[in-house]
């Protein structure tokens, strides 16, 4: 019978490394070692009560990390640890030229939900429109009572068309009918503006219908 049953899972699991060892391993020359270290640190810190040192070590490594799998492990670890400190260290990554780091930070900040509010709120008024746009995207992860007033303010006063487009998209997802007046007023400001006009029309229809507001994923 070619099917064999091992009584154990194979080699017994190696004992968990301590955090100091893992923090050092984060800067190893070997990408596999860096990835495993980030992965373990996420589990370690999430259990032990997030240690500032671990969060900082992970965030620091991101600044120079080029390997996709390692980046993903670091972002996953920071998301697993959670909290305002992790959020504060992730928020500045939204400014970076590197699309992978920018978007990894964005997705992780979304997963941090309420913990990211204090770090991301100021970015909604940032002078860089691309940063404002990403900050709006983070709001997808926020409770409606927090997101809705901010969306209303952006719809009322934001000048940059792509930021407005993002705000309309998030408003549609938030599904709060109280945003209807702000959307309608915004439509007047951006009449003829192609995508924004289309997006507002879709959002107004969806919120007016009071039906499920999640646009179908393919």
């Amino acid at each position: 019978m070619p099917l064999v049953r091992a009584d154990a899972a194979g080699a017994p699991a190696p004992p968990p490394a301590d955090s100091e060892f893992l923090v050092t391993a984060l800067t190893s020359q070997d990408a596999g070692a860096r990835r495993r270290a980030a992965h373990e640190l996420g589990g370690l810190a999430a259990q032990a009560g997030a240690e500032a040192k671990i969060i900082e070590a992970l965030a620091t490594q991101l600044q120079t990390e080029n390997n996709t799998a390692v980046r993903e492990a670091i972002f996953a670890a920071l998301g697993q640890i959670g909290g305002a400190h992790a959020a504060a260290l992730l928020a500045p990554l939204l400014r970076l030229e590197d699309a992978g780091l920018r978007n990894g930070a964005l997705e992780t900040l979304k997963r941090l939900a309420d913990a990211a509010v204090s770090a991301v709120d100021p970015l909604l008024a940032d002078q860089d429109a691309d940063v404002r746009l990403l900050a709006v995207e983070v709001m997808r992860g926020w409770k409606p009572d927090r997101a809705v007033p901010r969306l209303a303010a952006i719809l009322a006063s934001e000048q940059q068309v792509n930021v407005v487009g993002a705000a309309v998209d998030v408003a549609l997802q938030a599904g709060d009918a109280s945003l209807l007046p702000a959307l309608v007023a915004c439509a007047a400001r951006f009449a003829g503006a192609g995508y924004v006009e289309f997006a507002i029309a879709m959002a107004v229809k969806a919120l007016t219908d009071r039906s499920a507001v999640h646009v179908d994923e393919p």
Binding site: T68, E107, G165, G194, Y195
Partner: protein
């Protein structure tokens, strides 16, 4: 003479943006499929034959640049023409896109006429 419509893959994490581009391209006579991020786009490009892809930059899991890098390395789909779309308007961003493997680059918001003109040109169709 009946021609088979060209198939265009629209890759963007925003369902609204995908819908908007779909409408424009379908109206111009193309067949459109959608993907929600670079990884989804890569999988679809491996599974099905497309004539053009329109790819956003900022997406979760796999951004537009990583998508182009993986696409150009995939034997089954490496020569798929790619129109990259981004909010960033600096010349350096266009250069970066072309260096990453995009065939053309447009900044958002993309005027419908421009999208159709670029698609037609990239598909080798007289516009």
């Amino acid at each position: 003479m009946e021609t088979i419509p060209a198939r265009i893959l629209v890759i963007d994490d925003s369902a609204l943006v995908r819908q908007y581009h779909r409408q424009i391209l379908e109206q111009a006579g193309y067949e459109v499929a959608e993907a929600v991020n670079g990884m989804d786009g890569l999988e679809k490009a491996l599974e099905q034959k497309f004539d053009l892809c329109v790819v956003d930059v900022n997406m979760p899991v796999m951004d537009g640049y990583a998508f182009l890098h993986a696409l150009r390395a995939a034997p089954a789909a490496h020569d798929l023409p790619a129109l990259m779309i981004s909010t960033e308007a600096a010349a350096a961003d266009r250069d970066q896109a072309l260096a990453a493997g995009a065939n053309a680059y447009l900044t958002k918001p993309v005027p419908p006429a421009a999208l159709c003109a670029y698609a037609a040109a990239m598909l080798g169709v007289a516009s």
